[in-house]
Assembly symmetry: C2
Homo-oligomer: 300 residues x 2
């Protein structure tokens, strides 16, 4: 079944110990879609400015991503300038953010896509996430991601939104700052009490913790020796998770574990190249090969 994602499409300037790239295609929804497309049809809801290269539109289209609800507005595309230091590749330093067309954006979803059963609200202003959700017709599974900026300045709408979603993904810092708990299990329990029945805490190179009332499990990350650029790893992870779940007939413990294996593994490709260098050329066959290696790495 198909999957709809709301989030950002951005132009990124990124500096890492491995090098520097300018005007890369980025953004939470774009990274998510580049990953989820491996599993299902993805419908992208986002906005770009007039400066957005046609080549990037064509590129997303060629990857099979549906762009019916990709709006173009007067102004500049959202831009993010970030840096990663050698000492802590898990932490992105934001050098600059220019909202551009994100200011004043109201998500619009093509009428024929409002019944899509799987929805992911990738990182963007929680008020826009709420608006998108109001447009949709009782989706079966709604996933949500956010970031520290919104936790700090829009905590109230974010908490309101969390009450209505099924699955919440947070990185370690976000889980800790939302919950005020340093212990991940306590943090996960706090997030569960807020609303979502499935809590996924992404710990970067340390793997992932899944929490629900019925069960809890954890995987390490796929071991990557040469990290090039982690930008979008969390979105790529979420794309694998939701992509896998949207294909499943039902959601149970086994399916969730499989989905997180896929999510972890697809994210490992993302960090091996700048932007979407590695995920754009990824095939489900290559992904399966690495999943087999990963299973050996974590089996007991």
């Amino acid at each position: 079944m198909s999957l709809l994602v709301l989030g950002t499409v951005a132009l990124d300037n990124v500096k890492t110990p491995a090098g520097e790239r300018r005007d890369m295609l980025g953004g939470s929804a774009a990274h998510f879609a580049m990953s989820a497309r491996l599993f299902t049809k993805v419908h992208l809801v986002a906005v770009v400015g007039q400066d957005f290269p046609t080549s990037y539109v064509q590129f997303l289209h060629r990857k099979g991503i549906d762009l019916t609800s990709l709006a173009e507005a007067d102004g500049e595309t959202f831009r993010w300038d970030g840096e990663y230091k050698k000492e802590d590749f898990n932490k992105a330093l934001t050098l600059a953010t220019r909202l551009g067309v994100l200011e004043g954006y109201l998500p619009e979803v093509a009428y024929e896509h409002r019944n899509i059963p799987h929805v992911f609200l990738a990182n963007i202003d929680p008020e826009l996430q709420l608006k998108l959700l109001h447009v949709m017709n009782q989706p079966k599974l709604v996933g949500l991601d956010s970031m520290n900026l919104w936790i700090n300045i829009k905590r109230r709408p974010l908490l309101k939104l969390m009450k209505t979603v099924d699955l919440f993904v947070a990185n370690d810092g976000e889980a800790r700052s939302l919950s005020g708990e340093n212990n991940f299990i306590k943090a996960a329990k706090f997030l569960r009490r807020v609303g979502p029945k499935f809590i996924v805490i992404k710990k970067g190179e340390h793997g992932v913790l899944f929490y629900s009332d019925q069960f809890m499990f954890s995987f390490p990350a796929y071991p990557i020796e040469k990290v090039v650029d982690p930008t979008g790893a969390g979105d790529t992870f979420a794309g694998g998770l939701m992509g896998y779940l949207s294909k499943a007939k039902k959601i149970n413990k086994k399916i969730l574990k499989q989905a997180l294996l896929y999510a972890t593994t697809v994210a490992s490709f993302n960090v091996e190249g700048f932007g979407m260098e590695k995920t754009a050329s990824l095939t489900i066959t290559k992904l399966h090969e690495r999943i087999q290696q990963f299973k050996k790495f974590i089996s007991y």
Copy 2:
């Protein structure tokens, strides 16, 4: 087969968000032995001062730990005062260290114990670890632990020692400072090049990474919601690892994975109480119960 450990026996003053304890039985060799005794006969090589409570000697003896090579010297027992802050339970802050009888200590091993095939050099001055090793008759498997203090002030003897051991355990900070690498796989490869064929990187609440030329694997930590006192968790981990390996007929991938499951799980008990509160009352039956839970937690 039996197991010999050299390390410290200490009196610890520890403060954590869960409370404070004074004059607790601690030290690398004591924590190691309290864990390894669940698997095999453990022979403790260490020194205490005249102030060391007889009740602690009796306590170790009652736990089945052989104290033939526990020396008593003139002076005070080694003391460690430490604190853990709520913000980072993974990191011990050393408030004070008093070497006491550790100064001038020369490890002596009872003659009949020099043929013991499994030896662990728990955290203590690397020059003492080297001396112990010279006394032993070609042990089959030698494991080594150290700490940042020795990495900083006795790097040369430590590296010399590493050339001669089979297994090296390091926590994340130690692995990084010894190797100069932030990436754990690069760090593990560096440590492997120094000498030991098995490298174990303990990442606290984030689990463990095992590295050898033939294979690499990783487990998350057993999830503990109420951490009380992590002191000795690394030694308890090492005790489980070496204890399990010393009982195995041969060492292969499967055995190493099992040993690390046991190591991780026994360490999870340690952090749930001050000092040895939880490990002293632990039985192999209780350990097996938690291992079953842990397997569910990490199975895919």
